[in-house]
Each structure stands twice: as C-alpha cells, then as structure tokens.
C-alpha cells in the first residue's frame, strides 16, 4: 500500500465530497450558524477574560477553550470576508459573504477529517489477492467515513464543525491502532479540550491506556501483570494530558474564572430530553410513561387533573416531570450510564485484547452515554457511527451492527432538516449512503453469510414506512395541526428500538471470544 499511485482513489473520494459540500453553501442552516458566528464575534472582538462572561446573545460560548481559540483563529480569516459578522452586537447577522465564509470554513477544516480518515484506512488489513479497488476494505472504509450521511447533513446543512473534531478522533484512533499510544493520547486530550462531548469516550481511553500502555506485560492467562507496571509511562501520559488541559484551561484558572467556564460547559438546567427526543432509552421511558398515564386515565385509576401538564416535545427545553413513572434526575442518568458501560470497562481491564476490543468498548461508552445520558442531542449518535465504520469493514458481526445502527441513527437525524427545499437532499443522500453501505459490506463479507437477521431487515424496512408516514403523509393530514409533534415522537421511539438493539449487539460481540488472528 506504500505505492502512492494506488491511493489516487482516496483523493478522488475526498475531492468529490468536498465539492459536493460546496454545493450546499446556499442551503438551509440552523441556529447553529448564528451560534458559531456569535462565537467568532466574541473571540475576535473581546478580551479573553470576557469570553465566558459575554451573554448579549442567547448563544453563549459553551465549548471548551481550545475551540474558542479555534474560532479566534478563524475570525482572522473571516475579517477579510465580512468584518460586520465579527461584531458582537450584530445579532442574527447573515450576509452572502458571511455565509460563504462560514460554509467554506467547515469545508476546509474538514481537511483534518480527511487526513484522519486516510490514516484509519491505512490501518486496515488488506487481503493480498484483492485487485478490484471497489471491493478493498480500505476503499469501503474511506467511503463510509468521508461520505457519511450524518456528518454531511449535520455539518454542511445544519452547520457545525464535527468533521474537524472527528478528524482528531480518527487520528487518535489510528495512532492507537498503530500502537503509538502517546500520540493517540495527546490527540485525544486536544479533542477533549475542543469539545467536551467526547468525555463520553474518556473511560474507554483511560482504561485502555492504563491497561495496555502502563502495564507492559500480561500474565499467561491474559490477566494483568501487576509487577509490570511502569510508573514512567503513567507519568508521561499524565504529563501529556495535564499539559494540554493546562494550556487550555490554565489562563481561565489564573483569572479565577474556572467555575464560570465550567458552568457554561455543563448546563444541567436543561431537561432530560432535548426538544426533539434523541432516540435513546429515555425516549422509550417517556413514551411508556405517557401510555401508562393515558391507560390510567382510561381505566379511572388516575385523575386527569393530577397529571402534570407538560408536553414533552413541545419544542422548549425545559425540566419535565413524569406522570406515572418516577421522574429522572441527572444523577440517575449518570448512574445508569456508568452501569451500562461498567461491564465493558471491566472486560477491557480483565483481559488484554488489543485495539479492536478497545474500539468496541469505546463504542459501548459512546452508545451507553447516548442511550442513558442527560439531555442528549440526536447528533451524538455520530460518535458511535463513525468509529464503528472501522470495525465494520473488518468483521462480519460488526458490519451487521453497523448497518442497523447507521441506518436507524441516520434516519433519526431527519427531523434536523425540516425545510421542504432540503427534503430531497436528505432523502437522496441517505439513500445513496444506505445503498452503498449495504451492498459494499455485503460484498466484503460475502463469504461468511448474511449480515443482518431477517427480523432486523424487516425493522429497517419499516423505517421506509415511518419515513413516508412522518415526512409525507402526516403533514398532509388534518392531524398536523392538532398533534404537530407526533411524527417526531414516532421517529424517536422507532429509532430508539434500533439503537438499543445495536447496543446489545455490540455487547454480545464483545463477550464473544475473538475469532481468528488479530487483524488490526
């Protein structure tokens, strides 16, 4: 694979998708566009000490300091496009050149993602006899990463910088796959200081690094060799992580603003679920609560007047009390999350099984916190989808999980784009990606039999029905006026089943003994 020529397809894929992204410059963008424009303005025109205090816009800076610095550096390019967008008082400022700049900044910073994807593709084990480019695992992985539907939609239509951030994650994963743990740890700590949502993955990183890097030897039965502990390695790791954090948070600690920064980063004032319920466990829980309440009223067990009147998907981020089931507090979600990922972490600690097991545990961590976390956004499902692509091209079992998780996870992003003009784009891109991932993965694992169980296939086909009902039929029906949130609820509940199922599937594949030699 060292031959530079044989990688020309990678640049073709990358260039193709970058050009496609540029076509969406004039498409719909969400309030996140204004969020990031405001952050550009804040970091550009205010001193550092004001960054986390400024609140003239509702969209206050709530990402960690390194991301603020990233915005600061972007703002220096932005001033050549339109300096008016860099003024804090210009709320909701939109001009053609501001749009052009912001969109292009996402496209160009995606370069990090492209580089990260390329490094991951290099780590993929290639069968020697494979001559057709289209059926090489690295090619399939490159498409699954670069052309990922969710990332395209969230970054280039909805507007965010996830590609840039995932680039760091993929790079870090690639470094771990190449056993360059220190570089991987450095990249991951940078990532954590860019966006703290990646804390979801931190337990897997911590356990894996401690187990596989700080302990140099295993017992013959695979358990940890306590004597082989290397304090030097632990110190190096610690030094890397703390120095990155010091660099990012240090100035704010020095200014005595740490509590203010932290209160911005972790706003527990928000509700259990986002305005649109992310398809997770709590969405099922809420629906169960609703059903029980309705049943209770019907069967005269409950009085309607006693029930708290709050529509859960009314569109407002608010605290919410369940009617029948016990209400959920942040600490409960934390306990549930920890419980859901603990077995995986123990397993990773107990037996040393290399980077592939690490990747699985990492996925379980991100999916576990997605399923049980407090105020989860639907976009967070990408945290599981993208790393799972790496496993999917290597292992049949993971490929099946990938297909279930990606298809449901991607479909659950549909409500993000609700404008009619973008409807064809989301449908077409989703179809493209789904058709590709199914046919390519099936071809890749064709020898070993089917990828998804017929029941799973039926469930996934059911998504088409849900899509037609929620996106086409329902808005035309008279219920649209009375129950506008019903499609969102149905989407969320239907998808959460699939995502819970893929979580369980991941656990099963983790518990199953590894077949064959390590390919990574």
């Amino acid at each position: 694979m060292a031959d530079a020529d044989s990688w020309s397809w990678f640049s073709a894929l990358a260039l193709g998708v970058s050009l496609l992204k540029c076509l969406f410059i004039n498409a719909y963008h969400s309030t996140d566009f204004e969020v990031h424009r405001n952050w550009l303005a804040i970091t550009h025109s205010l001193p550092v000490s004001r960054w986390y205090h400024e609140n003239s816009s509702v969209w206050t800076l709530d990402y960690p300091p390194l991301f603020a610095w990233f915005q600061w550096s972007l703002s220096h390019v932005a001033q050549h496009f339109d300096s008016n967008m860099l003024r804090v008082e210009n709320l909701d400022y939109v001009s053609p050149s501001a749009v052009l700049f912001q969109r292009l900044s996402v496209v160009f910073t995606d370069g990090v993602f492209i580089y990260g994807a390329r490094e991951c593709c290099r780590c993929v084990h290639e069968p020697k006899e494979q001559r057709d480019v289209l059926s090489r695992p690295s090619f399939v992985l490159a498409v699954l990463l670069l052309w990922n539907f969710g990332l395209l939609v969230v970054d280039h239509l909805h507007f965010q910088y996830n590609g840039f951030l995932f680039g760091f994650l993929l790079l870090s994963l690639a470094k771990h796959l190449q056993h360059r743990h220190l570089q991987g740890a450095l990249l991951f700590s940078i990532l954590l200081n860019l966006k703290h949502i990646y804390l979801y993955m931190a337990p897997a990183y911590g356990v894996y690094l401690l187990r596989s890097y700080c302990f140099t030897q295993d017992h013959r039965d695979g358990f940890v060799g306590w004597r082989s502990f290397s304090p030097l390695r632990l110190l190096t790791l610690g030094a890397i992580v703390t120095s990155v954090c010091a660099l990012s948070f240090g100035p704010f600690v020095a200014m005595g603003q740490l509590p203010q920064v932290l209160s911005r980063l972790f706003p527990f004032k928000r509700g259990l679920c986002h305005a649109y319920w992310a398809p997770n466990f709590w969405s099922l829980y809420n629906v169960l609560d609703k059903i029980l309440a309705t049943l209770g009223v019907r069967l005269k067990l409950l009085k309607e007047a006693d029930l708290p009147q709050a529509s859960m998907t009314g569109g407002l981020v608010q605290e919410f009390h369940h009617s029948v089931l016990p209400s959920v507090t942040p600490s409960v979600t934390l306990v549930c999350t920890v419980l859901s990922i603990l077995p995986a972490l123990l397993l990773l600690w107990g037996t040393s099984r290399g980077p592939r097991a690490f990747l699985r545990v990492l996925l379980i961590c991100s999916l576990g916190s997605f399923l049980f976390g407090w105020h989860v956004h639907e976009k967070a499902v990408l945290l599981a989808i993208l790393p799972l692509s790496i496993l999917a091209v290597q292992n049949r079992e993971d490929a099946g999980t990938f297909l279930v998780l990606t298809t449901t996870g991607h479909y659950s992003l549909f409500p993000l784009l609700f404008t009619p003009a973008e409807f064809p784009i989301k449908v077409l891109l989703m179809l493209t990606f789904t058709i590709y991932s199914f046919t390519a993965l099936r071809k890749l694992h064709s020898v070993q039999g089917r990828l998804v169980h017929p029941l799973e296939a039926a469930y996934l086909l059911g998504l088409i029905g849900v899509a037609i009902t929620c996106e086409v039929a329902f808005p035309l029906s008279p219920w649209q006026q009375r129950l506008p949130f019903l499609p969102l609820l149905a989407t969320s509940v239907y998808c959460s089943v699939g995502i819970c199922h893929s979580f369980l599937r991941l656990y099963v594949s983790l518990l199953r003994p590894e077949e064959g030699p390590h390919q990574l």
Binding site: L19, L23, P424, T432, T439, K443
Partner: protein, 506 residues
C-alpha cells in the same frame, strides 16, 4: 459490487447535484420589469391556464406577446398547462392572469425547481441510464463511469437548475430517439424525436442526421422491398406524432401559420448578445450585420449552415451506421450552432448532447468540448449569480471525467483517431500528434480557468466593457471550430470508421 447499486448511486448523486444547484438563484431573480427565463416559464403557465388555446400564440388584450410571449412549439405549451394545473391547486396566486406577473417567492421557486426535476426524472435520466448501459461498450465499470460523467455534465445542470429552463425534456426526447435507433426500433425512435422537435424547435439541429440515417438505412434495405416498408412506417410515425401534437391548431390554417411564425422569429437579427459562433466572433473583424441586409443575412447563414452540415450528412446517408450517426449528430448540430441564424449561447447544449454520447469513444475530445461548452456560457452564469455552482460543477466534471475515463493515460494517435490528420499533415516533420493534442488540452483548460478567474476578479477597462465576454466567446469559438473539424475528419476517415463499425454493430 453489483451494477445496479453502482448505477443507482450514480443516479442518486446526479440528482443530488442537480438539486444542490437548484438551491441557488435563477435568471432574472428580483429584476423587474422583464425578469428572465424563470418568469417566462411561469408566464407561460399563466397564459396557457387562463386563456383558450386559440389565443396562446396571438397578441390579444390578455396576451401581450412582447412580454415573454409563447414562442416554443405546442408540447412546451401543454407542459406549461399541466404545470399550471398543479400550481393552481397549490397556490392560485401563482398563475393568476395579469396579477401574477413577476411573482416570486421561495415556495414558488421550490415548485418550479421541482417541476424541472420531475421532468428530468421522467424523460432525461432514464434515457441516459439506458443509453450508457446498452449502447456503450466496455466493462460494466466503464459503463457506469460514462454514466456518471454524462449525468454530471455541468452545462445542462446549470442551465436547467440554475438559469431555469426545461432542456432536459427536449434533449431527453432526442436521446430516447437516439436510443431507439441504436436498438433498431426505428419507428419508435422517430416518434421520440418528433416529440423533441415539438417541444423545442431548436431540435432541428439534430433533424438532418435523423433523417439521413433513416433514409440511408431504407436505401440499404432496398427501396422496393423492406426499405420501402420501413420508410412508410417511419413516415406514418412522424406524421402521426406531428398531427397529434398540432391537432388543436390544425382546424384553422392561419392559426397554424401564426404558431410557425412565433416559433421561427426571423426578425430578431443574425445573433443576439455574445455567443460563441462564427457570426459573433467575425463581428470583431467585420460588422456583417451593418454590411448586409437582414434578408441576405438569413440567406448567407442558411447557405453556410447547409454547406457545413451537408458533408457529414451525405457521409451518413451512404454509410448509415450508429457510429456515423452519432458523429453526424455532433457535426450537424455544431454546424447549426456555428453558422445558423439567431443562435443563443444556450444552444450549445444541443451540441453537448451528441458529444456526451461520444464520451466513451473519444473521451479526451469529448471532455474538452463539454468543458469548453460550459465555459462558453459563463457570462450567462455570472449574470444569474451562479458563480459557485459553476466553479464547483465544472471542477467536479473535469476531475471525475479525467479520473474515471482516464483519457490522458490512453492517449495515442490510434485512440484519438488522428490517422487522417497524419495523412493530411504529411508535409510536416514527424510529430507526436497525441502529445500535441494533450498539450493543447492542458493549455486550453488553463486558458479557460484563467479567463474565468479574470472575468470574475477584474473590472474590464472602461473603453472596452465587453472585453472579457468577447474573449470568452472567441476562446470557446476556436475550440468549437477545432472540434467541428476534428469530428468531420473522424467521420470521413475510412479505416477507423470501419473498425468502429464492426464494434458498433447492433
């Protein structure tokens, strides 16, 4: 991977690109009083919906022909009528007589864009898919690559989804005609082509090759036997289609004549605006329009067009093979574009279609020409505010066509069919013609990129306000002329055509 999945991915991507372009502005957006082609199409919906058919093509109190009067054949009018019915059911304001003039809203734009996409999905895209799968040769991967490049051709996408027109319909019908002829269904092919002609009169650019191919084929079959039978079948298909399309207008000969007068406006002058054809480029040196009377201009352009088109048509008549047919389509439409009367810059799309058919056979020249054709319409795109989609789609097409069809890797005199040039240039020292062609390609692409950049970035000198558009059209004209000569020579080079004929027999 199976072919079906690759094909569907290509089609889906083609549609995504189309829809992505359609998010941008359109011609005459927010520019009263005349607006642009978008308003023209909307106005036709208004006229056809509200007025009786007898008034569509006449100047009446309710139908001001000076304001985007209907000047396309009946099928366009019927299409507008169907769209108008849908529009009426969504929002009656969109087609209200008189009061809807210049109506613009995001919802209406969405509706109009959707009508273009729907027409494309029904007519154009299936024809492209079938053509690439059944009438190109090579591995299935090669076919899919050709399909992808064909669907990605930026000129058509930008005009239909940016500027706003329904070229996909007329070109799609013409392509259905080519497809049917290629598969040997001659009567069906002529039916499809008649539909194209009745949608847009500019399809006449393709009429001569269709006629010559079918006539030549009948001659080959023997005019007394099966050939005559074929001719009769084709003639009845043509007459039947025409009769059906024109049925409502036939009751009154005057009425039909008025439609014809509307469709062929001879009073408009030799050329309008800046277009990359002979007359406009010649205008820099000789002001033909002021020297000759308008009648003699018509005769001059007619004579030149026929002179330019006839050689390739005669060749096709004597050798009615599919390969000759495709080349003749390109040659004849180029002859019309370069020499005929009242040519628009958008008419280059009529040439681009047959050249797209040659993407698989002559990749380098086809890509070169298609790129130049998009470039020739650049001033129009800039006026419509389509700079970003123009840059993006052109880059994508250039890159992917070169990457997928690899014309530069397999670039030899044989694949470029330069044998005839070698004979013509026998007096010159032995040169590597393939290498020269390749370099010419690089230089012209660089020139086009440079001119695009200059036009966007610099202001023209005050005493020469039209400098850049003129440079653009003359650069494009030179390339069109070169392609015209090249395609003619390829069509006449004996040995090569025989070789391809063997390959192309269906």
């Amino acid at each position: 991977m199976q072919t079906w999945s690759l094909v569907s991915i290509c089609v889906l991507l083609g549609v995504v690109v189309r829809w992505g372009v359609s998010l941008n502005s359109y011609s005459g957006a927010g520019k009263p009083p005349m607006f642009g082609d978008y308003e023209a199409q909307r106005h036709w919906q208004e006229v056809t919906y509200n007025l009786p058919l007898q008034e569509w093509y006449f100047n009446t109190t309710d139908n001001d022909l000076m304001y985007w009067g209907l000047d396309y054949p009946p099928l366009t009018a019927y299409h507008s009528l169907i769209c108008a019915y849908v529009a009426k059911s969504i929002n009656p304001e969109w087609v209200e007589l008189h009061r809807s003039r210049g109506y613009e809203s995001p919802k209406h734009k969405l509706f109009m864009r959707a009508t273009v996409l729907l027409a494309d999905l029904i007519v154009f895209i299936p024809a492209v898919v079938l053509y690439c799968l059944y009438l190109t040769d090579g591995s299935s991967k090669k076919k899919v690559s050709t399909l992808f490049c064909f669907l990605l051709y930026p000129g058509l996408i930008l005009i239909d989804y940016g500027h706003f027109q329904y070229n996909g319909v007329s070109l799609g019908f013409a392509l259905w005609g080519v497809l049917a002829l290629g598969l040997g269904w001659d009567a069906l092919g002529s039916l499809a082509f008649c539909l194209a002609l009745n949608y847009k009169q500019m399809e006449l650019y393709h009429a001569l090759p269709f006629f010559c191919y079918l006539l030549g084929k009948s001659f080959q079959l023997g005019l007394m036997g099966r050939g005559l039978f074929l001719l009769v079948r084709i003639a009845s298909a043509v007459l039947g289609t025409f009769a059906l399309c024109w049925l409502p207008f036939l009751s009154d000969p005057d009425h039909a004549m008025q439609v014809v007068r509307r469709i062929f406006p001879v009073a408009r002058g030799l050329f309008e605006d800046k277009v990359a054809n002979t007359w406009c480029s010649l205008n820099v040196l000789i002001k033909v329009r002021s020297i000759l009377s308008s009648d003699s201009q018509i005769y001059l352009s007619l004579a030149c067009t026929l002179l330019a088109a006839i050689p390739s048509c005669l060749r096709l008549l004597t050798k009615p093979t599919f390969w000759q047919f495709k080349l003749a389509l390109a040659n004849s439409s180029l002859a019309f574009f370069l020499f005929s009367y009242q040519v628009h810059e958008k008419s280059i799309l009529l040439v681009a279609l047959p050249v797209c058919l040659l993407l698989n056979d002559l990749p380098l020249v086809a890509i070169w020409f298609l790129h130049a054709s998009t470039f020739s319409m650049m001033p129009l795109f800039l006026r419509d505010g389509l700079l970003v989609p123009y840059v993006v789609t052109s880059l994508a097409f250039l890159f992917f066509s070169i990457y997928l069809l690899s014309p530069l890797e397999h670039c030899s005199e044989d694949t470029l069919k330069l044998g005839a040039y070698r004979k013509l240039l026998f007096f010159l020292p032995k040169l590597d013609l393939a290498c020269i062609t390749r370099w010419k390609f690089y230089i012209s692409v660089a020139a086009m990129a440079g001119l695009s950049f200059v036009t966007v970035a610099l202001l023209p000198p005050p005493h020469l306000p039209d400098l850049f558009p003129l440079l653009v059209t003359s650069t494009a004209f030179l390339q069109f002329l070169g392609t015209f000569i090249y395609f003619n020579i390829v069509q006449f080079s004996e040995t090569l055509s025989r070789k391809s004929q063997k390959k192309k027999k269906h």
